[in-house]
Structure formats: structure tokens, C-alpha cells
């Protein structure tokens, strides 16, 4: 099968799964209401797939590593820290957490400010990516520990409220916000896609990229900033889905067997749409709404991660 056909096949698969999300077992008596609700979920799925898919591809290209994902920056744990702090310090009914728009703006801006601050400090002192990644891991652990401490101090009612943020979900998305986000995420994606040849060169590694005339520092900084914005969008919108990026990028790589971003980027995103829709339907229809989608994704992703590690060890 040619590579274009494979991408096409994935496209069909993704389209079918989105149709499923929209129409599966729909209640025709309240069709208009239901389709609107489901449309919001479907667009949430698409935004998440695009942002997590392209940010993970970019990130792995910059770092020349197939295992790590942008969650290494600690954005996931910072997101949880923000939620738990607002609930603990202000109140569980504060507008900052109950109003989806306000909550998104709060999270998104803090995540981006944190990320840019981290880049600025690390790139001013060192010239390597590794210091940046290491400091990301340290911050991530710090935020997690802070979250754990504050969690203990929450009263049970607040904790229950906080719990809804711990796992990603497409069930409480805001319509107005989605339109703006679709626009932002799509334009970033088009920008990334238009530079696919530069990304191919970047994937060869630092020395080769410089040898072939890429302005390496500039490229890394630009792409890291895009990664940051995209990760912040998806985290602030639906919450942390740690393994999704890892899962879909490696599925894409294994399926296409290519380094070409021209095919890789769409394939990874289409895999993302498929997996998210699948997980969403599974959680809604099979397990009832009680099981959040990120648990399903992390279960599949985690198993795949371990399999890949073992395989890598064997070869």
C-alpha cells in the first residue's frame, strides 16, 4: 500500500469515527439538542487530536527522541496545581473554576507564561535542550508534590469537585470557546505543515541540520514555542491526557514507516481523532460516564509504551 493510500485510509477511519461520535445511538426526539451537544464534543476531539498530535510530533523531532512527549515540561501538573490552588484558596464555586471560558483563559495564560519563562531562563544560561528538559522534569515533580499536599488539605466536597479536573473529558466544553480555538489550532497546524521540509531536516539531528543550512537555535525556539501553545490549548481545554501523544505518534510512525512530516503530521492527527472518538464512545456507552476517557487512553497508551520499551530492549 502506498503511503498516500495509508493516509487516505486513516482519513476515512477518522471520518467514520467522528460520524459515530455524532450519531451513534442518538435520541431522535431531541435530535437538534443532541446533535449540537455532540457536535461540541466532536470538535473538542478534533482540536485535541490536532494540538496533541502536532505538538508531540514537533517535540520528538526537535529532541530526536521517540519516547518523550511535551508533558515532560510539567504543563499537566501545573494545570492541576492551578485548579487545586483555586479550589483550595478561593472556593470550589469560584468563577475561576466554574466558568469554562474564564478557567481556560486562566490556565492557558499561566501555562504559556510559565513555559516561556522556562525557555528564557534556560536558553539564556545554557545552549542545550537537555537542561531545558531536565528542568521541566524537576518542575513537574515539584508541582505534583505540591498538588498532593494541597489535595490532602481539601475537604471531601471540594476534593470531589477537584477530581473532575484530574482526568480529561469532553463532557464540559464551552461552545464559544471552541470556535476560537479551532481557528487558532488550525492556523498553527497549517503554519507547521507548510514548513514540513524544514522539520524533515531538523529530524536528522543538530549537526546535520546546521550543515544543511538551518538556523538551528531559531528553529528550536520557534518550534518549542508552538509546542508550548498547542500543549497549553489541549491541557487547558480538556485536561491532562499523558499518553495520547506518545500513543498516536508511535502508531503513525509504525504504520507509515516514514520520517516525512508531510505524511506523518496528518497521519498522527487522524490516529488521534480515531483513538479519542473510540475512547469517548467506549467510556460513554460501555462504562457509563463514570470512567473518564483519559483512563482508557492511558491504559492503552501505557500498555503500548511498555511493549515498545521491551521491544527496544530486545533489539
Amino acid at each position: 500500500m502506498s503511503i498516500k493510500k495509508k493516509v487516505l485510509l486513516l482519513g476515512i477511519l477518522a471520518a467514520i469515527s467522528i460520524i459515530f461520535v455524532l450519531f451513534f445511538d442518538i435520541n431522535f426526539e431531541i435530535f437538534n439538542y443532541a446533535i449540537k451537544k455532540r457536535g461540541i464534543k466532536a470538535s473538542g476531539i478534533i482540536i485535541t487530536a490536532i494540538s496533541i498530535g502536532s505538538s508531540t510530533v514537533l517535540f520528538q523531532t526537535i529532541t530526536n527522541n521517540r519516547i518523550i512527549t511535551p508533558s515532560i515540561f510539567g504543563l499537566d501538573s501545573l494545570y492541576l496545581l492551578i485548579q487545586v490552588l483555586v479550589i483550595f484558596l478561593i472556593s470550589p464555586t469560584s468563577q475561576l473554576v466554574t466558568n469554562a471560558n474564564l478557567n481556560f483563559v486562566l490556565n492557558f495564560s499561566i501555562l504559556v507564561i510559565f513555559g516561556i519563562g522556562l525557555f528564557k531562563i534556560m536558553f539564556a544560561r545554557f545552549d542545550g535542550l537537555f537542561q531545558l528538559l531536565l528542568s521541566g522534569i524537576i518542575f513537574s515533580t515539584l508541582f505534583q508534590s505540591m498538588v498532593s499536599v494541597i489535595q490532602m488539605l481539601l475537604d471531601p466536597a471540594s476534593f470531589e469537585y477537584y477530581q473532575s479536573f484530574m482526568f480529561a473529558s469532553f463532557n464540559n466544553l464551552n461552545e464559544n470557546l471552541l470556535w476560537i480555538l479551532i481557528l487558532i489550532v488550525l492556523s498553527i497546524f497549517i503554519f507547521i505543515f507548510s514548513r514540513h521540509q524544514k522539520l524533515d531536516v531538523l529530524a536528522l539531528g543538530k549537526d546535520s541540520a546546521i550543515n544543511l543550512g538551518l538556523d538551528y537555535q531559531k528553529e528550536v525556539l520557534l518550534n518549542l514555542t508552538l509546542v508550548l501553545i498547542l500543549t497549553a490549548v489541549s491541557t487547558a481545554l480538556v485536561g491532562p491526557i499523558t499518553f495520547l501523544g506518545f500513543l498516536i505518534v508511535n502508531l503513525g510512525l509504525t504504520f507509515l514507516n516514514t520520517y516525512k512530516h508531510q505524511y506523518l503530521l496528518p497521519a498522527v492527527i487522524l490516529f488521534g481523532i480515531f483513538i479519542l472518538s473510540f475512547g469517548h464512545i467506549l467510556t460513554e456507552q460501555l462504562f457509563g460516564v463514570g470512567v473518564p476517557i483519559s483512563i482508557v487512553i492511558n491504559l492503552i497508551g501505557g500498555i503500548y509504551f511498555i511493549t515498545l520499551l521491551i521491544q527496544e530492549n530486545l533489539t
Binding site: R66, N211, G213
Partner: protein, 251 residues
């Protein structure tokens, strides 16, 4: 011409290069020799802008290195590092076609295809051009990277230990190829080599480094003397002449 002016490089407190000043002549094979840790690869890396340096300047064709546009420089100067590995899924043909990137930004014309095929045939990899890099032996891999450099078609070509991993046959063929590039296509080649005999028999110009300092630069006859080599390598050398080329015996 490449001019190296007062280059100093240190990793935290360890001085790797100290005030190195030299000129690399055009249309010649220049080889940097010296013991381990002399700073050979570092010097090559600095000239090819892969590494930064603390003070001094590199001037390539009358323009300072920092004033060069990176893409323009990639059409002028190319480098192959000592260890080349890539973890991406890529075929030999694809990696060689990356050599054309500075000229085409990824859109290959017929002429580019011609150059790629020419380079592949030159290193004897044309028949297996669709094999993935991770299925190759060390020597085949090395030749694939050399082919990519040939496809890049720059005036200045720098190679760090290009003979590593190669069979004797390909060692000799690589050196003959480099010789041909200089003699027929007016390229300028800068090498780092460990084997003093390869360096002596194929180079026009030698640069001897030790402990980050320039010991001496000059023609082969000037450098390859038992006294100077002993000073650089700390062992006894006997030099014999064979076909007008010096040969070093050191074992």
C-alpha cells in the same frame, strides 16, 4: 580561503584550543593531525559552525563566519562528523537527497536527481539505494553519509575521521575520491585523520595540533619528519621514502 584567527575554546575550565591561528589553502587537501585530545575535531567543528568558541574569528572567503547566512554557507561548506547515527526511518536515497536541501529547500529537480544518483554510484550504493539506513553495516552507513556530502556539492568539504568503519578498499577509494574532487573539481578539503600514513600520502598540507595548540603547519615534507612527529606523538618514528612519498614506521 579559510582563515582561522586566534581561536580559543574552553569547556568550563578545560582549555581545548588555545589561540590557534592558521590558514587553510584553497584547492588542496589539508589534514589536521595530532594525538587524542589535541582539539582536532573541535577545530573542525568550530570552522563548520557546529561549535561555538570563546574568542577569535573564522573568515571564509573574506566574510566572517557570523556574517554568513546559514543557508548560503551550506551551499559553500559542508561537514561530516565522526559518528553519524540517526534514529529516523530513512532510506539511503532519501538521506543522500537531503544533501540537495540547501540548493532546493526540498523540491528536487531533474538535475538534483542526477547529482544524487551520481553520488550514489560513486560510493557503490546505487543498487541498494532503497534500503533503510538502520539495516546497513557501519561502512555502508559511512558511505551513505559521504554520498550525501557529495550531493551537497560545496566548495569546502570537511570530514572528521572519514575512514572510520571502512574496509581497506573503501579507505583507499575514499581518499582517491577526495583527491579527484580536489584535482578535477577544484574543491577544498579539510580532514581529520588518525592514520599518519594516509595523511602523508594523500594530503597537500598538514596541520599538527597538540594540547590545543598549533605545533606546525606546512607541506607534507615539512611536517613528516621523525623529530617533529616525535614531538607531537611522543613515540619514535622512522621515515622511509617510497615512490616519492614519505612512509612512517612506528611499530
Amino acid at each position: 580561503m579559510i582563515q582561522v584567527n586566534h581561536i580559543t575554546k574552553a569547556y568550563s575550565k578545560k582549555q581545548v584550543l588555545q589561540n590557534v591561528t592558521l590558514n587553510i589553502p584553497n584547492n588542496k587537501i589539508t589534514t589536521i593531525i595530532g594525538p587524542n585530545g589535541a582539539g582536532k575535531s573541535t577545530l573542525l567543528g568550530i570552522i563548520a559552525r557546529l561549535l561555538t568558541h570563546q574568542s577569535g574569528q573564522i573568515i571564509i572567503d573574506e566574510t566572517q563566519l557570523i556574517d554568513w547566512n546559514s543557508l548560503d554557507l551550506a551551499k559553500k561548506l559542508s561537514i561530516l562528523k565522526q559518528s553519524n547515527s540517526t534514529n529516523i526511518k530513512i532510506t539511503i536515497f532519501e538521506i543522500v537527497s537531503f544533501g540537495r536541501y540547501p540548493h532546493t529547500k526540498g523540491k528536487l529537480t531533474k538535475q538534483d536527481h542526477q547529482k544524487i544518483i551520481e553520488a550514489l554510484k560513486f560510493v557503490d550504493l546505487y543498487d541498494i539505494k532503497d534500503k533503510y539506513i538502520d539495516q546497513l553495516s557501519g561502512g555502508q552507513k559511512q558511505r551513505a553519509f559521504i554520498a550525501a556530502l557529495l550531493a551537497q556539492d560545496t566548495d569546502y568539504i570537511m570530514l572528521d575521521e572519514p575512514l572510520n568503519n571502512l574496509d581497506m578498499k573503501y579507505m583507499v577509494e575514499t581518499m582517491q575520491l577526495l583527491r579527484k574532487l580536489v584535482d578535477q573539481k577544484n574543491k577544498t578539503i579539510v580532514l581529520v585523520l588518525h592514520d599518519i600514513n594516509f595523511a602523508a600520502s594523500y594530503s597537500d598540507y598538514l596541520i599538527a595540533l597538540k594540547d590545543g595548540r598549533l605545533v606546525r603547519e606546512g607541506g607534507v615534507d615539512e611536517i613528516v619528519s621523525s623529530k617533529l612527529l616525535k614531538e607531537i606523538y611522543d613515540i619514535e618514528f622512522e621515515i622511509i621514502q617510497k615512490n616519492n612519498k614519505p612512509m612512517c614506521l612506528y611499530y
